[in-house]
Symmetry: C2
Subunit: 107 residues, 2 copies
Amino acid sequence: MSHPRQGQVAVIFISEGSGADGDGYGAAAEAMAALVAEQPGFMGVDWVGGEDGREITISYWADDASALAWRAHPEHEKIRDRGRGEWLNRYDLMVGTIHRGHQWERD
Amino acid sequence: MSHPRQGQVAVIFISEGSGADGDGYGAAAEAMAALVAEQPGFMGVDWVGGEDGREITISYWADDASALAWRAHPEHEKIRDRGRGEWLNRYDLMVGTIHRGHQWERD
């Protein structure tokens, strides 16, 4: 089966919020969403957040080089430091390449 | 950076619920969670569900063959048919191989 994201690099970010400084976290998340969308090779993002402060964010990239460039972006680094300092209790980050998939939608 | 899931196959399932038959869906999700955990090659699962009925479920497999075997499991097929028939409005399924990552936890 083919899928529009076949060959793209997925960066899976699973986080557990600390509950601290909720407003600052929301503002930072919005700023990062705007900034990431401008990055070369950025192909899209999926996000779901639960009531318990757990979130899964998956960003999609044209290749690994563009995912690594976003990791090294100074603004992104600064926000990551604040995340570890204040907003998050833990996270799990995994990077993989999409090799198949399919989509379904009710008629 | 190494990560415990490096080399594992991740099956990313992003779904939007229809809101129909919520109890039946919950029972089916529990039954599938129990069944998937018994499958050869199953390595774990991450899940987050939002208040809007959107969910991201990521299951991890030792290799692609075990992920494909789960796809072909008769009970799983039956539940998928009910998902498309009743419980879901759309889904997006992507399969990839984890090649790097890292974990962080507050001290």
